[in-house]
Amino acid sequence: MSVDTATLGSILPHSIKPARYTGGEWNSVVKDWDETPIKVALAYPDVYEVGMSNLALMILYDILNSQVDVLAERVYTPWMDMEQAMRSSGIPLYSLETRHPLHEFDIIGFTLPYELNYTNVLTMLNLGGIPLLAEQRGDSHPLIIGGGSGTYNGEPLAPFFDLLVVGEGEEVILELVELFRQCGREDRKGCLARAAEIDGVYVPSLYEVTYSDDGTVREVSPTHPSARPVVTKRIVDTLPPAPTRVVVPFVEAIHDRATIEIQRGCTQGCRFCQAGMIYRPLRQRPLEEILSTADQLLAATGYEELALVSLSSCNYTGIEQLVEQLLNRHGPSYTSISLPSLRMDSFSLRLAGMFQGRHKTGLTFAPEAGSDRLRQVINKIISHEEILGTAAAAYESGWDRIKLYFLVGLPTETMEDVEAIADLVKEILPIGRRARGNRAQLSVSVSTFIPKPHTPFQWSPLEQRESLEEKHHLLRRLIRGRGLKLSWNDPQTSLLEAAFSRGDRRLSQVILDAWRRGARFDAWSEALDVQRWWDAFASQGLDPAFYAHRERPLDETLPWDHISSGVSKEFLVADYHRSLQGAMTFDCREGQCQTCGILETFPRDAEAMRQAGWGCVGVLRDAGQAAAAKRSQR
């Protein structure tokens, strides 16, 4: 039964941004609750404005709602004022479309993009009337499934989920729906065992984790014949059509614009970047398809901005033609085009000149490290000269404001590397001054490097707080004055993020404990109370430093070793060694296949890859191609 309108009406006027909770947005899909047999709630564990900017959720919404017998509705985490009001007036967490409580759905699919959202998952389950732990749930409860980058190490969340989907969800979500058509709400255990046989599906309850005396994981082993020793991520061979009738929020979303994913995956191989590793292989959407998608998307939404997103949009083959044609088609109706990520080279600058036109708002680049040496360590292949040259050209072509992103705390980093950030900044600003006078601005944003699973740096420690603060002080002392701006993220937040990023199953107890102590919206500085977390760690007898600050030996069993991203551990080890020697791993599209493991995991013949727009195309010397050739001979 839908939540009571009158009661809701009594609390909404007193809540912050009540339109977060009322739905009814343009293009939202409202199906008949009683006439639609399979009911899925798509849940995003953050506030509405953040969740509404998530493309993954919109893709699944589109796919599920195109099934006649399925309805998919959205739900986001109520902000703390609303949670409190809902609890005190007895309103359960409800979906936006038909306002049904979460516990009345058959399947709740959470997307898990970020470690510091984890307590919000618990808020949503609990407020939705669903027991928190999978083992407490029976046939009458919805299946709780998770997807997104968080599932590449889902261990800290494992006990809360019935199953996790590793990899791309477009196909597997329909396979899970099909399984539900067969099982219904009966024999939950049998149904989960069958789910474990679907490629990419990880059912945590079918695995046992044992630990060594030193607290490290000894083994993660299946306890059921259906559970595989290693769960390999799912991919789609060809990018499915992008959604065009996307929901247009009333409340301004963080990214309030139309979005087209122009390619998936990245071949640049930055060693700190989890997305660059786990979303391989690179697959490009054909240019013609993007153009027609853009027409439909803009017509269906009325958005005044179109973002061409991917991990590295400048690397899209034909990006210049694409931007040019989009501007020709949609410029006259005052639609602007944007690329969220720019490479630091003259090509990208020319591109930015095309889409920003006379309205040069600002440019953002990510050199990531201050010195050539450290950039080689992290495989960010761009030289000091290129950075200076691009910055100079940017100011000279009329931009006033440049923003640079850096990471601090990277493996092998010294104080000299950190000083090099300041040196670089001090070289760039005068160039800006010469070109733009006092209008020249340079913002420097510094984040803490967090080692992430499935990357060549997955064994590296998070740097200690004291030395991070020392580096912070140094930069604050050096980067000051007119036209300069420095921002920094909180080292305590980094410690939490790092602990959960590489955590094991025992951390679920810490999450539960911290949530019970009131932890909510930990990604929001105004909400985060780190003391709650330290208390929760202490009461569970665990130490965040053990997870975050410890350099892990290469032979240690990692909590996520039973999950495969398709990139092999051998490649990660080799790349880690190369990093320590300052040796680079070139973009495979520019040289030869680096044998990262993707083609061994997903062997395809050259023609299939070409047709599907794979970045791996054209490499015939490597093992993957050999395997594929062998298969096609059979």
């Binding site: 909404l12 006027p13 941004k17 009540p18 339109a19 909770y21 009322t22 009814g24 947005e25 343009w26 247009v248 009333f250 409340v251 301004e252 309030d256 017509a299 269906a300 939404t301 009325g302 958005y303 005044e304 006259p332 109706s333 005052y334 006379r358 309205h359």
Partner: protein, 220 residues
């Protein structure tokens, strides 16, 4: 895309209904801009680095209040029959926003925001007292010389913004109060504040703005 003919100004009267009463004024402006873009009407844009469509709203409606005759003016690059405009736009409006009227007005008229003078509201209140008692609340409110209040830390007097308050219907337990409040550059009276002054803040069931008033040049 330079206009080949004179720009046209259309005055749109619409309902902001229950379904969208919690969206803010800025949300409503975005909603209209996108609906008009979807309708592909030839919006006239401002010049400069950041061209914006010329759509103006005379008086923001507070969150939680519905509006029966809300108004906006939109400038078009070239003339469009009001009926054609209405047909194209109606299909693109979310549930809760409905067109009431579209008429062409002189493009040279002053901006709507400078012409708005006041608004009328109806508020439904759940009070069990008898009509006489409620009328006494009204009399005492209107009898005050001053109604000093604070809004966002600023002191102001609500009394001069209050033109009329009356009892619209007299069903005990379900009274409807009417009020006419000033709006515009000298300050805007808010119905929830009037109800608060009457000691009825916690009894309000719903508030609707029934109409806006403009100075004669604004051609209400």
């Amino acid at each position: 895309m330079r206009p080949t003919t004179e720009p046209q100004r259309l005055r749109v009267t619409f309902v902001k209904g229950e379904e969208v009463k919690y969206i803010s004024h800025l949300d409503l402006m975005r909603l209209w801009e996108r609906a008009l873009r979807r309708a592909e009407v030839p919006l006239l844009h401002s010049q400069g680095y950041n061209p914006r469509p010329k759509i103006s709203f005379p008086a923001p409606l507070a969150v939680g209040i519905t509006g029966h005759r809300e108004i906006l003016d939109v400038m078009l690059e070239r003339p469009l029959a009001p009926l054609d405009f209405a047909t194209a736009v109606n299909r693109q409006l979310p549930v809760g926003v409905t067109l009431v009227e579209v008429e062409e007005v002189y493009a040279t008229l002053p901006a709507l925001q400078t012409q708005v003078q006041g608004a009328e509201y109806l508020a439904t209140v759940a009070v069990s007292e008898d009509t006489h008692q409620l009328e006494e609340r009204i009399t005492s409110l209107l009898g005050s010389d001053q109604l000093p209040r604070q809004r966002r830390g600023r002191e102001y007097d609500l009394r001069p913004l209050l033109e009329k308050v009356w009892l619209e219907t007299q069903e005990v337990g379900h009274y409807v109060l009417g009020m006419r409040l000033r709006a515009g550059e000298q300050g805007t009276g808010r119905p929830d504040e009037v109800l608060d002054e009457m000691g009825l803040a916690n009894q309000v069931k719903s508030i609707v703005r029934t109409r806006l008033y403009f100075s004669p040049a604004g051609e209400e």
